[in-house]
């Protein structure tokens, strides 16, 4: 195998179809960028799911004298017995990891601490606005419906709130983004494969004299096809390099910005970025090589 010969053939091929090569690289770059962004969002979502899974809690609010809901108007404030019954019910459930009771004053203190920087909100609230409640940590965040159902109808319970519902909406948004990126990526990848097919066909046509002679003097099929395969692979690789720039940008300008918003630390490490770039590049090179190979089988009969 003469490396220099193969390399010069590839270079000639790429340069001869310069416009087509640029079209291929662009299409591959866009599709891989979208594909990579989709993968990255996917990783971010699962990372955040994990983070929140550990922290998701149920809050069981008890009725007090000022509760506006219909249930509480009817039955009045929760009695001590009702409170005990709810607590023992929660503690008896295997899904529950930990139960903490907060009295009205503790709840109000907690509220004040949390919103200490928005005075207006704190001033508009007074002790008793936030009813006494149970903070319930779950073993598995998936069980929240079971636990909520078990206590929701018990006397003295006003309402059961769940962080999960709020988060789910946010995750749905990210999921939607992910799927949109992946669907567009799939369409683009198909277009890229067809473009590569055409480029390689042109290349094979413009070199038919050389390949004809190679065939006659007994060059092996592999040797004849290799320059074309590598031509496709290199176009895919260059597209992948452009795409990885876009993937890095996605991390720093989209996902990390989203994180800033929430003020918690679930930023993806560079490890997962490199993983996504690696997967995208391999996909790009494989796709281009396979597309070239299938084209050659039709247009470079040996």
């Amino acid at each position: 195998m003469r490396a220099q010969f193969v390399l010069s053939e590839i270079w000639i091929g790429l340069r001869r179809n310069l416009t087509m090569t640029i079209a291929v690289i662009t299409t591959v770059a866009i599709s891989l960028a979208l594909f990579g962004a989709g993968l990255l969002i996917n990783q971010q979502v699962s990372e955040m799911r994990g983070y929140w899974g550990e922290r998701v809690s149920l809050t069981v609010y008890l009725c007090n004298d000022t509760s506006p809901s219909a249930i509480c108007q009817e039955s009045g404030a929760a009695s001590d017995e009702e409170r005990q019954a709810i607590q023992s019910q929660l503690e008896s459930m295997p899904e529950v990891a930990q139960v903490t009771f907060m009295t009205e004053s503790e709840a109000w203190q907690d509220f004040q601490d949390r919103f200490s920087n928005s005075e207006a909100l704190v001033e508009a609230t007074e002790e008793g606005d936030i009813p006494a409640n149970f903070r319930v940590q779950l073993q598995d965040p998936g069980d929240h419906d079971t636990v909520a159902g078990a206590v929701a109808e018990m006397p003295g319970v006003d309402s059961v709130s769940n962080d999960q519902e709020v988060l789910d909406q946010f995750f749905e948004l990210l999921d939607g983004l992910k799927w949109a990126a992946l669907v567009v990526a799939a369409v683009q990848l198909a277009a890229a494969a067809l473009l590569i097919g055409n480029t390689i066909r042109l290349s094979a046509y413009s070199r038919r004299r050389e390949t004809g002679i190679m065939r006659l003097v007994g060059a092996s099929n592999f040797y004849i096809q290799l320059p074309f395969l590598l031509e496709g692979a290199i176009a895919g690789l260059i597209g992948g390099i452009f795409a990885s720039g876009f993937i890095v940008a996605t991390k720093f300008f989209l996902l990390d910005k989203v994180q800033d918003w929430f003020q918690f630390d679930v930023t993806l490490g560079m490890g997962s970025v490199f993983y996504v770039i690696g997967v995208s590049m391999i996909l790009g090179v494989l796709l281009c090589t396979i597309a070239s190979f299938l084209t050659l089988r039709r247009y470079l009969r040996v």
């Binding site: 003469r2 010969f5 004809g212 190679m214 065939r215 006659l216 003097v217 060059a219 040797y223």
Partner: protein
């Protein structure tokens, strides 16, 4: 060296067979003219030897190999034992004489040192010494055909197939080409040459196989182009 046994070739788009029950034996070191009008089956014969086509019926043996049993990935190795020369030379216009000849060795992976040694020898054998760096468009038709012959022969094939090698060349130059082919034949290479050129066939006095409508109508050692005239 080449052994055809009742070979029939029918192309899918044609009714009449291109070769019809042809049996031919060509021994090692022979020089054979293949004559006959256009469409008589000469080119089909050459294509079958190269395994560019498969016979519809019958057996083809080349260099001791049954081509029907030769798997596709081994065909390149068969073709390395066969050199080919065509009417239209088929040189690469962007390569000079040396590079055109060397190309045949490069693409079968021969080392560069070997190429530098054997290419000048073959260029000299075909009578082009001193013209290694000429481009094909700086050469006459006869010289271009010599380059093509050098390329076909540089790998020292056992068989040289020539499909009307003098078809594009004036008679005086053709004699020079025939001398080169004769020289190659004397090294022990079997030469099969398809031609229309009666003068050349008559002057060489070699074996002549005449095809007509796909059948062998004459096989004569030390023959001439046509007996009828």
């Amino acid at each position: 060296m080449i052994h055809f046994e009742n070979v029939t070739k029918v192309y899918p788009t044609q009714k009449r067979p291109a070769l019809d029950g042809v049996s031919i034996d060509v021994d090692k070191g022979e020089f054979v003219f293949l004559v006959g009008p256009s469409g008589s089956g000469k080119s089909t014969f050459l294509r079958l030897v190269l395994k560019e086509e498969k016979p519809t019926k019958g057996r083809v043996h080349v260099a001791g190999k049954d081509l029907a049993r030769l798997s596709n990935w081994k065909v390149p190795h068969l073709r390395r034992r066969i050199g080919c020369v065509f009417q239209d030379f088929r040189l690469l216009p962007n390569k000079n004489v040396f590079e055109n000849v060397a190309f045949a060795l490069e693409v079968i992976g021969k080392p560069r040192r070997f190429i530098r040694k054997v290419v000048p020898e073959v260029v000299e054998l075909v009578g082009l010494e001193g013209k290694s760096t000429r481009m094909p468009d700086e050469l006459s038709g006869g010289e271009q055909q010599r380059v093509a012959i050098a390329r076909a022969f540089v790998n020292r094939p056992q068989i040289l197939l020539a499909d009307e090698p003098t078809g594009n060349i004036d008679p005086a130059t053709s004699i020079g080409i025939m001398k080169v082919l004769d020289r190659i034949n004397r090294t022990g290479t079997t030469v099969v040459m398809a031609t229309h050129d009666a003068a050349i066939v008559d002057s060489m006095r070699k074996r002549v196989i005449e095809l007509e409508e796909g059948q062998v109508v004459r096989d004569q050692s030390r023959g001439v182009y046509g007996q009828a005239y």
